[in-house]
């Protein structure tokens, strides 16, 4: 495998590095009202430079660059310690779905404000009785004049406390588990929507419950065909589990910080764990670069999901063991890493997918 970069890519890397060096500064937590707005402003700053969605077509605010350049961007972004992406649900999960299943009208209307941070999206998948067994969800969309009326309850909805809009699955027909579902977008400030923030283990409302009481959604906000939502959603799930949401840049940067921490706090008993974590991050990076021509989707995305989520936990736990206390600079990342093996489908579900759909083991 040849990881040599061409001149244009190296120039792009230099441009990104220099811009980030000049502009990155610490922001408040995005899970507070003022911090959320600071992150929105940061997204606007990125967008003004066409750096918020570099791999998108230019008409939607991107630079039309390839996956390789996006990975380079991500490496620089994480190495610079740049802010978390408040837009990530939209740009990494909804946007790929719109590229694959949306209409021209939907892309033209939704993607530009998403790229600028003017519209921040929350995801609305899970329900109180539908977690790992997502297809058992009960929230409904009932036909009405010119659109649909949403009823029910969503939960663990990331960013919903402060976001503008949300996307999720709703039951449009009682027949069949998977067949009766439809993919819809809705406004979190619409009449009939109640958002109740849920404090996460760091004490801040990183996600929320959403109660829907006859919330009107126009027909133009249905993605794909009515009743085809499960198939449409699974393409989004592949993105969430695969490399889109968790590029290796994040782990390579975290492992580099861990090595730096070891240099300052050497503890021979932990040395092998530090190197193993660093090697794991390198292996994931090489795995991703090797898969560039054939990005992991579907069951292959489950392989990467298990790998990066457990790597993230081990990098952060090793850092805490080195420090001997929950230190600033690592605490938030550590707490966040605990969610990795759970969201986007628990790692137990991913292992079922790998076992049944890749290895062909019986159900």
């Amino acid at each position: 495998m040849d990881l040599t970069l061409d001149a244009a890519t190296l120039e792009f890397r230099a441009e990104v590095r220099s811009w980030l060096t000049e502009h990155v500064r610490p922001l408040s937590s995005m899970d507070t009202a003022p911090g959320f707005e600071e992150h929105r402003t940061w997204e606007r700053l990125l967008a003004a430079e066409r750096l918020s969605v570099v791999s998108w077509p230019e008409e939607f605010g991107g630079r039309d660059l390839g996956l390789l350049q996006w990975l380079i961007f991500e490496e620089e972004y994480h190495a610079a310690g740049a802010p978390g992406r408040v837009s990530q649900n939209g740009i990494f999960l909804l946007a790929p779905t719109l590229f694959a299943h949306g209409t021209d009208e939907q892309r033209a209307r939704i993607l530009p404000p998403m790229a600028r941070g003017d519209e921040v999206w929350a995801q609305a998948w899970s329900e109180p009785e539908a977690g790992s067994d997502l297809a058992s969800l009960r929230s409904t969309a009932v036909r009405t004049d010119g659109g649909w009326l949403l009823r029910g309850q969503k939960t663990w909805s990331s960013r919903a406390a402060f976001a503008d809009r949300a996307f999720g699955l709703f039951r449009t027909s009682p027949e069949g588990r998977h067949r009766g579902l439809t993919y819809l977008m809705f406004d979190l400030r619409a009449s009939g929507v109640t958002v109740r923030p849920i404090a996460q283990l760091d004490g801040e409302p990183g996600f929320a419950e959403i109660f829907l009481d006859d919330v009107f959604v126009p027909d133009r906000d249905v993605i794909g065909d009515v009743g085809d939502g499960w198939r449409v959603a699974m393409s989004t799930a592949g993105n969430e589990r695969g490399l889109s949401l968790r590029s290796p840049g994040r782990f390579v940067a975290a492992a580099a910080r861990l090595v730096e921490l070891y240099r300052k706090n050497p503890d021979p008993a932990l040395r092998d764990r530090v190197v193993d974590a660093w090697i794991g991050a390198q292996a994931y990076r090489l795995h991703t670069f090797g898969a560039l021509g054939n990005p992991p989707t579907g069951p292959a995305a489950s392989v990467t999901k298990v790998f990066w989520s457990e790597l993230d936990v081990s990098v952060h736990e090793t850092a805490l063991d080195l420090l001997g206390e929950v230190a600033p600079g690592w605490r938030d990342g550590w707490l966040f890493s605990l969610a990795g093996p759970i969201y986007a489908g628990t790692n137990e579900i991913q292992r079922n997918v790998i076992a049944e759909r890749i290895l062909g083991l019986p159900r």
Binding site: R271, D272, A283, F307, Q350, I354, A355, I358, L361
Partner: protein
Amino acid sequence: MTPEQEALRDAVRSLLDKHSDVRAAIETPRGYDKALWARLCDIGVLPIPEEYGGSGATRAETHLALEELGRTLTPSPLLGTAIAAQALLTFEGNGILLRRIAQGAIATVAWDHTGITSTDAFDHPEVNARSDYLDGTARYVLDGDLAEILLVSDGRSLYEVDLAGVTREHTPTVDQTRRLATIHFSNAPATRLGPWKTEIQDIALAALAAEQVGAAQRALELTVEYTKTRVQFGRPLASFQALKHRMADMHVLVETARSAARAANDEVSAAVAKVYCSEAFLKIASEMVQLHGGIAITWEHDAHLYFKRAHGSSQLFGSPADHIERLTRSAQL
């Protein structure tokens, strides 16, 4: 993979399916099947340019063949010979040796682990250059007693040694599918080829990693096949979630190990591949034993061959701990 590479892989796999008999090979005095080695050379798996009478294969093709040999655990001089050929190609003017290898001569390289703090088991080769005569002992040399071309490093230079000046003995190890030897040098005449280069070690680690990935992949496949057919409590073992998840983890390890092996092309990435692929194969071989249950504890079943190969390979060319030590001291860490 290019169509040509796929064809080469298929040719090697089909040859091994038909002719590889590991149990028979390890009972022979030389420990490998000479006819099979000749056929393998005919397919053109050695990384020797056409100008030296070779097939023009590159290391990518050689690594595909090593993956295949790893799958079947076939004892073969390919690993050592391919490393030696690549070592020779890092210098000018070794056409005669390369031509001999292209014609089927077995070759190997023995080197000091420069830059590694070795444990007692890895203090080889303790050779000291005295002008063009060598003294000392090289231990755990891959195919060392079979090699017709013996390259050895004293840590400063690489030599081609006159075999008349050395005594060699086979060193049986836990892994019967791998041939190692001890070589004594006593005033042994040697030709200096040039300075020792650490890139030769990187070449060796990358080649070994390819073989480890092939073996790990096959160990997983055998485990999947077995648990799908073995029935207990009225269901195939493979339908139990506790076992499915373990095999899913094995798959994650194989896929990431393959990526690390294919990317190994410099000092750091080769060390990463060595550590990662060694640990992945060890884990998978252990799981293979556990998921097979009692049958894996028998001589008759191949699980112990994979288990032993995993351990032997993890120690060959320096253990994961040695390379972690080296990585921690390198500029990268």
